[in-house]
Each structure stands twice: as structure tokens, then as C-alpha cells.
């Protein structure tokens, strides 16, 4: 083993999965390379059909890649069948065995590993305690609620102490309140067990809340990998900015570049400083798109953008203002509703918008 590589990190190297052949060939996973560090809550985020579930299945071993490699802790596991991989899955449908009790479900993996009866009993009660399901150990899956089935599915996948836990949209079948509770639960379980979690979701809020790192996927490719803050504050691609959070997209021309940032001129004529992703080379004079989050812009007496307020929408914690810019584009601005703020301008009023220092970000189209 090479130094620097911890025991349960996953390395995905130039991995592809093509379904069908000829004209009907579909690249579900398209030459993906990514490193998932040990003991991390790692999220694959993307819209449906982006390849995130296929990537998860490739790691689990349910699908064989068309090309590329998967390494776990430095060991090549690409050719191993699912029952030989120290990786367990929590399925979207839970996939609890309907003819077995909750306890037998949780103990299934341990039985298959050939552990002793006493050992199994011990681990099963430990796992059921971990997910607070001890009292329902003898029930059948059909006799417990969806949220409880979810906990059993988690306990079953964690019982054999896998090196990596794969979670395929496990919260999507739960109602909002239960989902919030389970999010907290998942975060706690990951911290307590120290197992690497690879979590698949299309819910950006869930991804931001839970993850140590997020990989944003689109059309079978990973567009950007980073911390929730990094992805949110510095999206490298227009798709990432659009998919995660609300964004204003402004057309601009590069005036001057300086490593990590660029001076760009907006259509209003004003010049602002914008961060430049390291993966993007923007030549002076080229036209680019700049992203500004609605909460990073404020109304000002002297701003960089001019427009007319069309309407204000009150959301309780904040108010969203829709401003029609001089070039005809719509700009969204969000203001926290704290006490003592100046009154909102009336619809139709001319307003000026200031953009916070460091809030503008150049993105790839």
C-alpha cells in the first residue's frame, strides 16, 4: 500500500458504463475519476438520469463497468462480485426480506459471513439499539412503518461493519418531517461508526446539510467536487450554480485576469471583481457568465446594476425582490427580515444593486 492512502478510501479511475450498443448506446457513467476519502460523508448529487445511481451500483458490484477501475483502500475490486466486496448498500426501496423478522434481517449478513450464534445475537442487539429499534426486533417488515423500515435497512447494512456504506436515495420515500429526523440520524451514525458513507441524492438541500464533500453529476460526468460551502459559494459550472441554490446569471466581458480572480465588465458598464475557477481559462476580451447568489446582493444608493423593482415576495425569514435590469434580464435579490431595516421600495421604483465583495463567480457555460 502506498502511504497517504487510508484503509477505506475509494478510488475511481476512468470508470465508464455504457448500456446498450450501437445507435442505442447510452453512457450512464462517462469516464469518471474521483477519490472518496476514508471516514467521510460523500454525496453524489444530480438530477435523475445523471448516472449517480449507476455509479453507486458499480461500486456495490451490481453492475460491471464497461471500462475503468474501482479501488478500495488501494486494492482493485473491479472484478469482485457483490458478495465479495466489504461494501453494504441501503436501498431506496429498503429491500428488507419480507419473510424474516427485523432481527433476522439485521443478522442476515453476519450469518452469511459465518459468525457464531452468540456473536450474531450480540451484534444484532447492538445494531438495533443504535437505530432505536430494539422493541420491534421480532416484527416482520410489513408490520412496521416506513421510517422504521428505513432504520432496519440501515442497521442491516451496518451490522457486518462494512468499510463503505452506500446509500441510494434512502430518504426519498419518507415525509418531510421524518426525513429531517433521519438526516440528523445519518450524520450521527456516520460520525459514530467512522464508516465511509457514499450517499446518492437529487435533493440539494439534503446534500448541503449532510455532506463533508459533494460531487455534482450531470450526463454521466462529475462536474465539480468540493465541500458544501465550496460548491455553493464557488460553483465552477453554470449547471452547478443553477442546480444548487438560486442564482443570477449575468453576462460580462473579461477586462483583466489575475490568477484566481478576474476584473469583468457587466452590461451595465460597471466593472466588478469575480472569482475565477482554477479549471477555467478566461482570456481578456472574452465574454463570460458571472453568477451572483440572491442573498449576496443588496439594494444601495450607488450600485453596479440599475433596474426597476417588479415585485416583492415575503417568505417570513426573508423577502425576495424581483428586479428588471436595464438590459431586460430579471435579477433576484434576497434580504433578511431583521428588525429596523429601511422600508422596501414600492413596485415600479428605480433601484440600484450592489454586489458584496467576493460574491461574484465566473462559471463555465
Amino acid at each position: 500500500m502506498t502511504p497517504n492512502v487510508t484503509q477505506s478510501d475509494i478510488e475511481i479511475i476512468d470508470l465508464s458504463k455504457i448500456f446498450g450498443s450501437g445507435d442505442e448506446a447510452f453512457k450512464a457513467v462517462d469516464h469518471i475519476s474521483v477519490h472518496i476519502p476514508d471516514n467521510e460523508f460523500f454525496t453524489l448529487l444530480g438530477p435523475s438520469g445523471c448516472g449517480k445511481t449507476t455509479l453507486l451500483r458499480l461500486i456495490a458490484g451490481f453492475e460491471q463497468p464497461s471500462s475503468g477501475w474501482i479501488k478500495l483502500g488501494g486494492q482493485d475490486i473491479t472484478a469482485l462480485s457483490p458478495n465479495h466486496r466489504p461494501v453494504n448498500t441501503v436501498f431506496q426501496s429498503y429491500a428488507l426480506f419480507p419473510h424474516m423478522s427485523v432481527a433476522d434481517n439485521v443478522g442476515f449478513g453476519l450469518r452469511m459471513l459465518g459468525q457464531s450464534r452468540r456473536q450474531i445475537q450480540h451484534t444484532v442487539s447492538e445494531m438495533l439499539a443504535l437505530v432505536e429499534m430494539e422493541s420491534l426486533a421480532s416484527r416482520r417488515p410489513a408490520q412496521i412503518s416506513g421510517g422504521q423500515q428505513q432504520r432496519v435497512a440501515l442497521a442491516r447494512a451496518l451490522a457486518p461493519r462494512p468499510r463503505v456504506l452506500l446509500l441510494d436515495e434512502p430518504l426519498s420515500a419518507l415525509d418531510l418531517k421524518l426525513r429531517k429526523t433521519m438526516q440528523t440520524e445519518l450524520k450521527r451514525l456516520q460520525a459514530e461508526t467512522g464508516i465511509t458513507f457514499v450517499f446518492v441524492t437529487h435533493d440539494q438541500q439534503e446534500a448541503l446539510t449532510l455532506s463533508d464533500q459533494i460531487a455534482v453529476m450531470h450526463n454521466g460526468q462529475i462536474l465539480q467536487v468540493g465541500t458544501p460551502q465550496g460548491i455553493y459559494n464557488h460553483p465552477a459550472e453554470r449547471f452547478v450554480a443553477d442546480f444548487i441554490g438560486d442564482s443570477n446569471f449575468l453576462s460580462a466581458t473579461v477586462v483583466q485576469t489575475n490568477g484566481h480572480s478576474a476584473q469583468v465588465q457587466l452590461r451595465s458598464g460597471a466593472a466588478i471583481r469575480a472569482s475565477l475557477p482554477s479549471t477555467l481559462a478566461a482570456a481578456v476580451g472574452s465574454s463570460v457568465t458571472v453568477v451572483v447568489r440572491p442573498e449576496q446582493a443588496t439594494l444601495a444608493d450607488q450600485g453596479v446594476l440599475q433596474g426597476t423593482l417588479e415585485q416583492s415576495l415575503y417568505f417570513g425569514t426573508d423577502t425576495q425582490m424581483q428586479i428588471r435590469l436595464a438590459d431586460g434580464e430579471l435579477f433576484n435579490l434576497r434580504r433578511q427580515n431583521t428588525i429596523g431595516q429601511p422600508a422596501l421600495p414600492a413596485p415600479g421604483a428605480a433601484v440600484q444593486i450592489a454586489i458584496a465583495e467576493g460574491a461574484a463567480q465566473v462559471v463555465r457555460h
Binding site: A60, F108, A157
Partner: protein
């Protein structure tokens, strides 16, 4: 769509036609059952209630013998057919799509499509050759013929069950370190069992009932209940036959009821 609002049961005469259809469908069988309790030996005159014909049927040595033979053949044939059908159903639902899969379906359903009489004639000739070479004339010919004939009937409910079974359960087992054989034994087989039993029941009833193939394949003294009854009725129709038919009917209804209950049983 407007068509969805179309309710057949609102049409005039719907209930009446339904009742008449069911009545006509079951009238002959009802007549048979009623006359099996007739004290008279007549086919048309009711002479009071009696169970004499049932007593006579039970006391009849030949009836006992052919009934036992029918059961032996039906149980054996249903077992063989169900095993083959289970394997076929697994192969056609739990493997990636392969070239010629449609052909396989057609081949499995062959006994449903080839006229029974043709199969009968073919088997007569085929088995005659084997009999000449081996000298064996036992029940195995009938069991083999019935087994082959029953496969598609056993196959249908088993395949239906497999198709509604979530393949994710088998994936989950593999994910939890079960080998393919362990997955089959601990997950697939227990969940498939109602389908297998339903298939067995259907095959059992079909085997009991098959006359044409049995006629062609049986050696001397190998009558089944069905061929025995056919032979008796050719000579003289007695209420004893009614009684045997009613019992036969009862057995079939039981088997079909078990089949129905099993195939209705939900997963989980």
C-alpha cells in the same frame, strides 16, 4: 379521456345476462351432482335422496385401483413438471436477455399449442419403439408423458410470481455476502414457494384430467380414473359414474382453490 367513464355494468340487461351465463355454465354440473344422490337408477326420474351410489363407488375394487393409479401418476408428474417449470422460470426471468428467448417461451408452451391428439399419436409410436428395445412397460411412460404435458401449466404461475418479486431483494442478499446458492435457498426459494405450490396444484389437476394422452400411452391394465370412466360410460351410464364424477369434481375444486389462494397470496 371520455372512454374511461364507460361503465359496462350500467348497460341494460348486464346483470340478467351475467346470471343467465353463469346458470347455463353450471347447470349441467349441478344436474350431475343432484342426480348422483338419486335413489333411482334413472337418468331422468328423481326417486328420493340416497348415498348408495357413493357407497357402491367406494366399494368398487376397480375404482379404488384406478384412483390410486391416477394419484400416483398425478403426484409424480406434477413434481417433475413443477421442478422443470421452476428451473425454466428462473432461467427466463433471472438471466440477462439472450438471443432466442422468445423461441424458448414458444418451446416451453409447446404442449398448449400442439393438438393433444397429435402428441398422443407421436408418443404412441415413440414409446412403442422404446418398449420394443427395453421391454419395460411400467407406469414411467404415463408419468413421463404427463410431466411433459404439465410443464407449461406449472410454468405460468411460477413465472408470474417471479416477475412480481423484487429483484432488489436478491441483490440485497448478494450485497450482504450471500453466495448465489445461498441467495436462492434463503431468499428466492422461500418467496417463490407460493408460486411453486400453485404451479404444482395446477399441474396435478391437469394430470388427473388428461384423457387423450393417457389413452394413447397406457399399456393394458393401466387405466386412470379418467380413462376408466370414459370406458364405463361407453357401455352404460350408471349413477355410480355420477358419484365418482362428483368426487372427482370435489377434488379438482379443492386443488384449484388451493391454487387460487396461493397465487393470490401477497409478497411480504
Amino acid at each position: 379521456m371520455a372512454r374511461r367513464a364507460f361503465a359496462l355494468n350500467r348497460l341494460p340487461g348486464f346483470t340478467l345476462i351475467a346470471f343467465i351465463t353463469f346458470f347455463l355454465l353450471y347447470l349441467p354440473i349441478l344436474t350431475l351432482v343432484v342426480f348422483s344422490f338419486n335413489a333411482e337408477a334413472s337418468m331422468s326420474i328423481w326417486g328420493g335422496f340416497s348415498v348408495d351410489w357413493y357407497r357402491a363407488a367406494f366399494a368398487n375394487r376397480t375404482v379404488q385401483e384406478v384412483s390410486l393409479r391416477s394419484l400416483v401418476i398425478a403426484v409424480s408428474a406434477a413434481s417433475v413438471a413443477t421442478t422443470a417449470a421452476t428451473l425454466a422460470a428462473l432461467a427466463t426471468t433471472r438471466t440477462p436477455t439472450f438471443r432466442g428467448q422468445t423461441l424458448i417461451y414458444a418451446l416451453i408452451h409447446q404442449p398448449l399449442m400442439v393438438p393433444e391428439i397429435v402428441t398422443g399419436v407421436a408418443l404412441l409410436i415413440f414409446f412403442a419403439v422404446i418398449k420394443v428395445y427395453t421391454g419395460y412397460t411400467g407406469l414411467a411412460y404415463l408419468i413421463a408423458a404427463h410431466s411433459a404435458f404439465c410443464i407449461p401449466f406449472a410454468y405460468l404461475p411460477i413465472r408470474a410470481r417471479l416477475q412480481t418479486m423484487d429483484i432488489t431483494l436478491e441483490r440485497a442478499a448478494a450485497d450482504l455476502y450471500a453466495t448465489p446458492l445461498q441467495t436462492f435457498r434463503r431468499i428466492t426459494l422461500p418467496l417463490l414457494m407460493p408460486g411453486i405450490l400453485a404451479g404444482f396444484m395446477l399441474a396435478f389437476v391437469i394430470s388427473l384430467d388428461t384423457v387423450v394422452i393417457t389413452e394413447f400411452v397406457k399399456s393394458a391394465g393401466q387405466d386412470t380414473l379418467a380413462t376408466y370412466m370414459l370406458g364405463q360410460i361407453r357401455r352404460a351410464v350408471t349413477p355410480e359414474m355420477y358419484a365418482i364424477s362428483t368426487l372427482f369434481l370435489l377434488l379438482s375444486i379443492l386443488a384449484v382453490a388451493v391454487f387460487f389462494l396461493l397465487s393470490r397470496q401477497r409478497l411480504g
